[in-house]
C-alpha cells in the first residue's frame, strides 16, 4: 500500500514529523512519510474547522491508526482556509500519498517569518537518522 520513503526537497519540515509546502502567503500542511509509517494505516482524521486559527508548535487536530492516536502539530501559525475532505473520508490516502493527495489543511500564514525556523529536507533526514 504505502509509498516508499521520501522527503521532497521543496518542502519544509517540523521536528514533530509534519511538512509544509509554502505557496506565497499560504501553506499546505501534512505529515511526513516517517510519521505515517510509524502510525500504520490511518483510520481517522479529526480535522480542524475552516476559519479556525492554528498556532506554530501546537496541535490542530489528530490522526488515528487502529492502535494509536497522534496529535497533528502545526509547523506554522495562521488561519485554516481549507481542509482535505478526501482524507476525512478516506484517511488511508495519507499512507498512499503523504505529500500529495494526503495533505491535511491549507492555512493563510499570520507570520511568514516563522518559515525560517523550519528544517529543510536534509536537516529533517539528519534528525531522523539521529533518533
Amino acid at each position: 500500500m504505502a509509498a516508499t520513503e521520501s522527503y521532497p526537497g521543496e518542502l519544509k519540515y517540523h521536528r514533530e514529523h509534519d511538512w509544509a509546502r509554502i505557496e506565497d502567503d499560504e501553506a499546505v500542511l501534512g505529515i511526513t512519510w516517517f510519521a505515517q509509517d510509524a502510525l500504520g494505516e490511518l483510520v481517522h482524521y479529526e480535522a480542524p474547522a475552516e476559519g479556525a486559527s492554528v498556532a506554530k508548535d501546537e496541535s490542530y487536530g489528530e490522526v488515528e491508526s487502529v492502535k494509536a492516536v497522534s496529535d497533528l502539530i502545526s509547523p506554522l501559525s495562521g488561519e485554516v482556509v481549507a481542509v482535505n475532505a478526501k482524507v476525512v473520508e478516506e484517511p488511508e490516502t495519507v499512507n498512499d500519498d503523504a505529500y500529495g493527495e494526503g495533505w491535511l489543511i491549507r492555512i493563510r500564514l499570520s507570520d511568514p517569518s516563522e518559515v525560517d525556523s523550519l528544517l529543510d529536507a536534509a536537516a529533517y533526514r539528519e534528525l531522523l537518522a539521529s533518533q
Binding site: 500500500m1 500504520g40 494505516e41 483510520v43
Partner: protein, 352 residues
C-alpha cells in the same frame, strides 16, 4: 529500564518477515506484518496464523486434579469429557476474575490450562497455593509453542478435517505432530496448534507455505473485539465480577468454587453495571479509559476493519446496557454518540 523481554521460538522468523515487534506482557511480540487491516481481513475471509506462544500452559495431574479445578474454576468441569475443552474463569473471593482460560481435559486425571501470558505466574501460584494431595501442578509453558490458525478456510489450508468447537485431538501437519485444538480468539473457524517448542519453527514454515497469512497481535485484538470476546486486564480484571461482565454462562452457580457466593448474590440482586458492546454513530474511535456519560467507562475500543467504524465495549449502568441505548463517549473532550448493540459487534461465520 532495560527490561529483558522474552522471545518465542519464532522470534527470528517474525523479524525476517518484517514484523513490527512490540513489548507485550513481558514478551517481544509481532504487532503487525503487512498491516492490521489486511491481516484482519485475511482471517475473516480466508486464513491467518498468529504466534501466541507467549500464552502460558499449566498442567494439573493426579487423582484429585479434577477436584482442585472444580473448586477453583467457575465452569462445571463435569460437563466435558476427555477430548473436550471448556472456557472458564479463575475467580477470587469477591467473584473478580483472576484470569480467563481454556481447560483441556486430556484424560480423567490430567488437565491442560492455556492461560493469558500476563497471568501465567499468578495463575501458577494460585493453583500451587491450593494444591491438595493427589493434584500436581506444573508450569509447562516453556516446553510448548502455540500457533493459532484462524479463518473460514483454516482447515482447508491445513489439510485437516474440521471438528466440533471446543474439542481437540492429536494431529499431524506435513509430518509434524501437534495437538489440534478447535478453539480460537477471532470468532472465526480454525484451531490452535500446540506443538513442542523445538518443532515450532518448522510448523510455522509449513503453515505459511500452505497459504496462511502471518498476523500480529494488532489484528488479534480487532478480531476478538468484533467478536465481543473480553480481554483480561481490560474488560475483565480481579476487580470486575463475572456476572457484570456478562460471563454468567460460564459460571456454574449450582456448584461450590472460590467466589461462588458473592457471584450468586450479584446475580440475585442484579449487577449495578454491565459490560456492553457498542458501535460509534459518529466518526470517532473509542479507546480504553474514556468516560461514558452517566457513569460508564470504555474498557476496549478500536476501529472495526469490517464495519469501518469505531467500536468498543465498556461498563455502563445496567439499564443502559440494553441494545439500542444511545451512549455519549468523551473522546478527548469531544462528546461522540455511540449505540449499544447485541453481541457480537460483527457476526462472523462462527458467531452469527
Amino acid at each position: 529500564m532495560a527490561q529483558t523481554l522474552q522471545q518465542t521460538p519464532l522470534h527470528d522468523r517474525h523479524v525476517a518477515l518484517g514484523a513490527r515487534m512490540v513489548p507485550f506482557a513481558g514478551w517481544e511480540m509481532p504487532v503487525q506484518y503487512a498491516g492490521v487491516i489486511p491481516e484482519h481481513r485475511a482471517v475473516r475471509r480466508d486464513c491467518g496464523v498468529f504466534d501466541v506462544s507467549h500464552m502460558g500452559e499449566i498442567e494439573i495431574e493426579g487423582p484429585r486434579a479434577a477436584k482442585l479445578l472444580q473448586s477453583t474454576l467457575s465452569n462445571d468441569l463435569d460437563r466435558i469429557r476427555a477430548g473436550q475443552a471448556q472456557y472458564t474463569l479463575l475467580t477470587n473471593e469477591t467473584g473478580g476474575v483472576v484470569d480467563d482460560l481454556i481447560v483441556y481435559k486430556l484424560d480423567e486425571f490430567r488437565f491442560l490450562l492455556v492461560v493469558n501470558a500476563a497471568n501465567r505466574a499468578v495463575d501458577y501460584r494460585w493453583f500451587r497455593d491450593r494444591e491438595i494431595p493427589g493434584s500436581d501442578v506444573r508450569d509447562v509453558s516453556d516446553e510448548y509453542a502455540l500457533l493459532a490458525v484462524q479463518g473460514p478456510r483454516a482447515f482447508e489450508h491445513l489439510g485437516l478435517p474440521d471438528a466440533k468447537a471446543f474439542t481437540f485431538a492429536e494431529g499431524e501437519i506435513d509430518g509434524i505432530v501437534c495437538m489440534v485444538n478447535r478453539t480460537g480468539y477471532t470468532g472465526e473457524a480454525g484451531c490452535e496448534l500446540l506443538v513442542m517448542a523445538e518443532d515450532a519453527g518448522e510448523l510455522w514454515d509449513r503453515v505459511l507455505e500452505r497459504g496462511a497469512q502471518p498476523c500480529g497481535l494488532g489484528a488479534r485484538d480487532t478480531l476478538r473485539l468484533e467478536a465481543c470476546f473480553p480481554l483480561h486486564g481490560q474488560d475483565i480484571t480481579p476487580e470486575t465480577d463475572a456476572i457484570s461482565a456478562g460471563l454468567t454462562w460460564c459460571c456454574a452457580l449450582d456448584k461450590e468454587f472460590t467466589g461462588a457466593d458473592p457471584l450468586r448474590e450479584i446475580k440475585e440482586r442484579g449487577p449495578d453495571r454491565k459490560l456492553a458492546p457498542f458501535v460509534m454513530e459518529e466518526r470517532a474511535i473509542p479507546r480504553t479509559g474514556m468516560a461514558i456519560d452517566g457513569g460508564g467507562e470504555v474498557t476496549s475500543g478500536t476501529h472495526s476493519p469490517m464495519l469501518d467504524r469505531g467500536v468498543g465495549m465498556g461498563y455502563v449502568p445496567a439499564p443502559d446496557a440494553k441494545p439500542g441505548t444511545e451512549l455519549t463517549i468523551d473522546v478527548r473532550g469531544r462528546p461522540r454518540r455511540a449505540r449499544v448493540v447485541k453481541k457480537p459487534i460483527y457476526p462472523s461465520h462462527e458467531t452469527a
